[in-house]
Symmetry: C2
């Protein structure tokens, strides 16, 4: 999917909501546990209930691979349920030396290899340029590079000063020589909304994937105010607040209610 | 496995060789391609041929997950073939916010969840302390933290000066407050053998996992001279030079020859 196609979807749906599919088999409602694939059955209903309000879906790969081979089958099925007009993100935080990153890229971008065909994958920057470039060799696919994350540990290294700038600023500046705003996005944690305005001066044109709204405490109003650019430039993720809005048989309806509330707030900011 | 148990195995086998199972289905000898699980069949013969000379095996997870669910089944089978006296490393380079890292830890450490039961997993440090700690909650399991890698991109961020020290030094220093030498090891690329002596002054007691000997060009003599401590403290990895020593029906014998040569050189350094 191109940036223009994504922006068109954002305008059509009046939304920049990304639904994070952090589907924990231990938290799926009881009545679905007897399904042959409870995770896929749960995701299918979540996707159907929220697709009107969401422009992107982001399976968190850890939740699937923790289930072994059947988890990867759940992931394959889940990806098939996502409507084609939605942007799909493998939240995998991968990154390794070049030939290994090439295999990770095939995992998420090459259906002939793995059965998966995501639009984007999240990548950790620690190993540098040649750990990221293999993901960029796939046409119309995206790297979403970790810049500033929303967890407490983001202060351990990301915030350290590196030659007059913080490490995460250095990551943003350096990585801009690897690909443009048509191939790369950045993860920027919403609990740092005060830093969004500053980050926008560094990368005015890039899409930002913003986790941490909802269960992690970020404010959608602040993120939108400081993070938006002329082509929206934001994908704001909510996971647990949508997936687990109810633990009962009405979980899909409650998920839709949560997604709609976020979409309606977003429509106001667009 | 404890550090003492690992050291005992090192003394018994007179080896600190780790065989990297970067098993690329495209490079498996033709006669194995008709097996129901060619990757597992190849790995089984590699493991049987090299177990006398190796103290550790390190499947590179990218090569398995690129094959989708059947790749994870190959990984499960491979782990079953590795003798119990060998240390097993999931080379996965994972790391995410706490609850997600907890799921990645279950992937590699909790056989009831994923079918896998590794001794150790490689973890990327970018997201800081709370992205690493969930892996440390599993008893007798190890985190092998990326410090200085062997690829060209290691100069992009790892070598940058952070408040008077390089980022990788900062990672080593900071992470020592998270766990001791009984639970944590570090990845240190062998192509930087000149930095090993310096790293030893920072972490005299920790095991170092050293990739990059062989195909990546590192020198076993230099690594051993500058990296060894009183309990050996080294796991030196070789992957492609062993796995693909021959592309024919004699691949296992040639792999054994390569592993034996490395073991005999190591015996001289111990």
């Amino acid at each position: 999917m191109t940036a223009n196609e994504l922006y068109t979807t954002i305008l059509t749906k009046k939304s920049y909501l990304c639904v994070g599919l952090d589907t924990d088999i231990r938290r799926i409602p009881t009545h679905l546990q007897r399904e042959p694939d409870p995770v896929a059955a749960f995701n299918r209903q979540i996707i159907e209930a929220t697709a009107e309000y969401a422009v992107a879906y982001k399976p968190n790969i850890a939740f699937y691979e923790a289930q072994g081979p059947r988890g990867w089958e759940s992931l394959q099925r889940t990806l098939e349920y996502i409507p084609k007009d939605c942007f799909t993100i493998a939240d995998a935080k991968r990154g390794d030396i070049g030939n290994t990153s090439g295999l990770y890229a095939r995992t998420f971008f090459d259906p002939a290899s793995s059965g998966l065909d995501f639009d984007a994958v999240t990548v950790a920057p620690y190993m540098g340029r040649d750990s990221v470039e293999p993901f960029l060799e796939f046409e119309n696919k995206w790297v979403i590079l970790l810049a500033l994350t929303s967890n407490a540990g983001s202060s351990d290294f990301q915030q350290w000063p590196v030659g007059g700038e913080k490490l995460y600023e250095n990551v943003i500046r350096t990585s801009q020589t690897w690909a443009g705003a048509d191939r790369m996005m950045y993860v920027v944690g919403a609990t740092r909304a005060d830093e969004l305005a500053h980050i926008r001066t560094l990368i005015p044109d890039h899409f930002l994937l913003v986790p941490g709204v909802g269960a992690q405490g970020g404010s959608l109003a602040e993120v939108s105010r400081y993070g938006m650019n002329q082509q929206c430039g934001l994908l704001v993720n909510a996971s647990r607040s949508i997936l687990y809005a109810s633990g009962g048989t009405d979980f899909a309806q409650k998920a839709a209610d949560e997604a709609r509330a976020l979409q309606q707030e977003m429509a106001g900011y667009l």
